[in-house]
C-alpha cells in the first residue's frame, strides 16, 4: 500500500461572523495558500475533495458553488462529502491508495453564523424518534456530560481545566477566535444552558475554511520539507439508535485506538476535535493519554468551523510536527451527537 504524506495545510482566520462573505471568498485564500506552500497548481492535483454541509448555508447544493474557488477547466476528478473535511481527507487517502491519484487537494468550509447551529444540528438526528422533539446539539452533549459526572468519570473542575488549557494554548494559533481565559469564578457561576453545560463549555459559533494537500512519497520528496506521514488512519461509527448506545464510554474511540496501535506509539501530543469541554478529559481517559499535551493549537474550544474543525485537528498536528522537534502526533475528528462517529489519525515525522 502506498505511503501518504501531508504536503501543505492552511486555515483562514476563524471569525464569529463572516457576514456576506460567500463560499468562494472563504475557500479561495486557503486553496491559494496550499498551492503557494507546494508550488503546485490545480494541474498538479490528481483528486479534489471537499467537506461541507448545505444546511449551514440553508441552501441546497451550496457545495457546488464552492467549486468556483478552484480551477475546474479542463475538467477535474472531484468529490464532496456532506461531512467534516476530515472525511474528505479519508476519501482522498482511499483514492490515492487505489492508484487513482498521486496527490489530492482537500478543503472544508462552514458558515454557522447565519443560522441557529445547535438546532441545525438537530436535523442530523433520527427523523422519527429524535428530531421531532427538537433536542439541540448542546442538550444531547449535556446528557453525556451529566452521565459521566454521575459515574465519577469527570468533574466540572476537569472541564474547567480543559477549557483554560485550550484557551491558553490558543495563543499558538494566530487564527484562533477565542483567546480570553475565563476566571474559575466566572466559569463556575455561569448559568447552565443545558445542565451541566454553560456557554463556556461549548465551542464558539465560527465561520471559516481550511485546505490541505496530500500526496505519495514521490510527491513529498520533491518538496524538500520535513516528511509528515499519515502512519495510521481509521474511522468508525456507533449506532444511529441513540438510546441503545452506552454514552458512559465510546466503543468507537476505544476500538480506533486499538486499530491504529496507539499503545505502540510514543505520542508527543494530541489534537482532538472536542466541541465541548467534557470531551477532553473523557477522550483522555478512553485512550489512556495520561498527561499528554492536548490541543496545543487551542482546538475547537478556541474556534470551531463546522465541517473544517476535524480537518483542522489533522492540519494543526501536521504544522506542529513540521515546526518542532516532535515526532508523533495523534489527531481526532468526530461527527454526530455525543461523539457518535470518530476518526483517529497517527501522524509521524519521517527522518531521512
Amino acid at each position: 500500500m502506498k505511503d501518504i504524506y501531508i504536503l501543505a495545510y492552511a486555515q483562514n482566520p476563524i471569525v464569529a461572523d463572516a457576514k456576506a462573505a460567500n463560499e468562494v471568498e472563504l475557500i479561495m485564500p486557503v486553496v491559494h495558500q496550499v498551492f503557494e506552500q507546494t508550488g503546485f497548481t490545480q494541474n498538479d492535483i490528481g483528486f479534489t475533495c471537499s467537506g461541507s454541509c448545505d444546511y449551514l448555508q440553508g441552501a441546497a447544493f451550496a457545495f457546488v458553488e464552492g467549486l468556483s474557488a478552484i480551477q475546474t477547466n479542463p475538467p477535474i476528478k472531484e468529490s464532496h462529502v456532506e461531512m467534516d473535511a476530515a472525511w474528505a481527507l479519508y476519501e482522498s487517502i482511499l483514492k490515492i491508495r487505489m492508484g487513482d491519484a498521486e496527490t489530492a487537494l482537500i478543503y472544508g468550509f462552514g458558515k454557522s453564523s447565519p443560522g441557529d447551529l445547535p438546532f441545525v444540528s438537530t436535523l442530523q438526528t433520527d427523523p422519527y424518534y429524535m428530531s421531532p422533539l427538537w433536542p439541540d446539539k448542546i442538550s444531547l452533549a449535556a446528557l453525556q456530560a451529566q452521565l459521566l459526572m454521575n459515574k465519577g468519570v469527570l468533574t466540572k473542575k476537569d472541564m474547567f481545566k480543559a477549557l483554560t488549557q485550550s484557551i491558553s494554548n490558543a495563543k499558538n494559533n494566530p487564527n484562533a477566535l477565542v483567546t480570553a481565559v475565563p476566571s474559575e469564578d466566572d466559569y463556575l457561576s455561569a448559568d447552565y444552558l443545558s445542565s451541566p453545560l454553560s456557554a463556556f463549555d461549548c465551542a464558539p459559533i465560527s465561520d471559516g475554511a481550511s485546505a490541505m494537500i496530500i500526496g505519495t512519497e514521490e510527491a513529498v520528496a520533491k518538496l524538500g520539507q520535513p516528511k509528515i506521514k499519515i502512519s495510521g488512519v481509521h474511522h468508525s461509527i456507533e449506532s444511529s439508535n441513540f438510546g441503545a448506545r452506552d454514552l458512559s464510554t465510546s466503543e468507537s474511540i476505544i476500538g480506533l485506538g486499538k486499530k491504529i496501535s496507539l499503545k505502540s506509539v510514543k505520542l508527543d501530543f494530541a489534537e482532538l476535535h472536542t466541541q465541548f469541554t467534557y470531551e477532553i478529559p473523557f477522550i483522555r481517559g478512553l485512550l489512556d493519554l495520561g498527561n499528554l499535551d492536548i490541543n496545543l493549537s487551542g482546538g475547537p474550544l478556541a474556534g470551531n468551523v463546522m465541517m473544517a474543525a476535524g480537518l483542522d485537528s489533522i492540519g494543526k498536528s501536521y504544522e506542529l510536527l513540521k515546526n518542532s522537534d516532535f515526532h508523533n502526533g495523534l489527531a481526532h475528528a468526530s461527527s454526530g451527537p455525543c461523539l457518535q462517529q470518530n476518526m483517529l489519525v497517527h501522524l509521524e515525522k519521517i527522518n531521512d
Binding site: A20, A21, L123, W134, Q146, F242, G243
Partner: protein
Amino acid sequence: MTKSSDKELLRASFKLEYPYERSPGPVIGKFFDELSNEVLVGTKNSKGEVFVPAAEFDPKDSEHLSEFVEVKNEGVVQSYTWIEKPRAHHLIQESFAFALICMNGTNSAMLHMIANCKEDELEIGKRVKVVWNQEKTSTIRDIKYFEIIDD
C-alpha cells in the same frame, strides 16, 4: 474592490425543516399507531432484549426485529439535562429536561422530555411515567412528556 465580508448580510426568513413526507414502515409505524392508542410497544430480539422505542434491527448484531411486546408506561431516568430557559425550537417553553429514559423491562433508552417538576427533584435513577398528548398524531409527540412518579 469591496469584499463581501464588509457588507451586511442580506436576510430572508427560513423555516428550519426537512421538507419531506416520511413513511415510517411496519415497525416504527406500528410503534406510532400504538402510541395513538396510548400503548407503548417495543421490539424483542432472540436474546429476549427489548427495545423501546421499537427498533427495526438490533444495533449490536443487526438482527432483524419483528416480534412486538407491550411495556408499561413507566421507566427510569438514565441521564437528563435541565433546561432552565428553553430556547427557540423547544416544544416546552417552561423549564424542562431532556432525558434518556429506560422503560421498565427494556434494554435501551428513549430520548424524551420531563416536565412538571423542579430541577432538584430530578436525578439519575428517578422513576417517571408517560403523560399523553390529548391530540394524537401517530408520532413520537403523542407522548407529551414524562413526569416524576411520587414515591
